[in-house]
Symmetry: C2
Subunit: 244 residues, 2 copies
């Protein structure tokens, strides 16, 4: 039975290339800098920073610049303005490092993306900082494989519905490949589409919350990029659902 | 003779709604805060900030978050780390004010956009911070008039060519309406399209540099939004060009 899938969406960060590791590194450095001023553990500092990031999300949106501004603000607030300008400068430099890091494709991604692009239309759907994401796409060398790059400010049902609408596509002919159940899989499945979940070894706490039922018949989990083409071939075959 | 224009692009900031005024206000406050530490005039501080913004542009891209990070960095560098955390907090707050300001449509914009949307497909083409721009579109109440919202990281020939390609459109059937000759008019005219220039009372220094010849036959200048529909009606009529 051949797949009825017409369009394949790929997430970028932590699906095609490493990302969260760089954010984690910046956060650990932030904890070390601010920890020298206050009597809080790394874990307490991490919680405070995450709470501040969530508070600022509606105003700032996602991405490294937002994280950096929230780190600066939180450092000043937690130290009750005792932090030195020199240390704030170090925090800004941490953000710049995240923006500047080289784009490192995950193992098997290039081959998998090429194999899929040979059979389907593929689109990159990422959220966050437009400028940063565009630079990463350029540096990844994968830009030519993608029919289009869609950068959305939130990966929710509304954004995916808009993308499908622009392609004139039914949800059941669309599969999204990504590492986040919350952002890449759940909204697409809710619309009636398919999901291929490629877990990454670390996930931002914010992305861990989702309402997807375990073993959903339109979701396939794979261990690495090399397994994605086969998983996509199984999508769209409603007659033979295989649960994860 | 009827116009052959099929698609009308609108810029957002300082064309549909006030924007630069908020940035100017933040910059003036920045100059007052940093000026208390260093022996530099407002004008010198403004030059140093602009130079830093340009240096960071490739890394940060446009927008209020980028400006805020550059203000923080520049304040620390110019004061040789003498600035207090409290004053850095004030600078971060200036950036948040720019992100939070209400969306105030310019006079006549709603009526002009409605009149144009009744006759043509209209698309909003803005650059800068995706999240901030989407929020402004939502709050402007104009979202429904626009066939699509394109947010690009740089308004150059390449970006406009991509938009035209997605619409399957020749450049000479496209007119762009905006306040910046550099970003809104020059690249479109270079591609063979048309421009309606609506000057704003203040323009960011960075936008003042352009290579557009005066009196270009495919560019019309208007004094305010109410004149835009007539100017668009004059575009596309190559037999009767009227210079500005």
């Amino acid at each position: 039975m051949s797949s009825r899938i017409e369009l394949v969406g790929f997430d970028g960060d932590d699906t095609l290339w490493r990302s969260e590791d760089y954010y984690r590194h910046a956060n650990a450095e932030f904890e070390a800098i601010v920890g020298a001023y206050v009597d809080l553990t790394s874990s307490q500092l991490r919680c405070r920073l995450l709470a501040a990031e969530r508070r600022n999300l509606a105003l700032f949106g996602y991405g490294a610049k937002s994280m950096t501004l929230t780190m600066v603000e939180t450092a000043i607030e937690l130290t009750e303005s005792a932090i030195s300008a020199r240390d704030i400068h170090r925090i800004v430099a941490l953000g710049k490092e995240v923006l500047e890091h080289p784009v490192e494709l995950l193992p098997g991604v290039r081959e998998a993306a090429q194999a899929i692009a040979a059979r389907h239309r593929v689109v990159l759907i990422t959220k966050g900082d437009l400028h940063h994401q565009e630079r990463k796409v350029e540096r990844s060398g994968l830009g030519d494989l993608f029919h289009r790059i869609e950068i959305v400010s939130e990966k929710d049902e509304r954004s995916y519905a808009k993308v499908l609408d622009e392609f004139g596509m039914q949800a059941n002919a669309f599969v999204m490949v990504g590492n986040s159940l919350r952002s890449d899989i759940e909204p697409v499945v809710s619309l009636g589409g398919w999901g291929v979940h490629v877990p990454y070894h670390v996930t931002w706490e914010h992305e861990l919350e989702h309402g997807l039922e375990a073993g959903h018949p339109r979701v396939f989990a794979v261990n690495d990029a090399a397994e994605i083409p086969d998983a996509i071939a199984r999508c769209g075959n409603v007659a033979a659902p295989v649960s994860i």
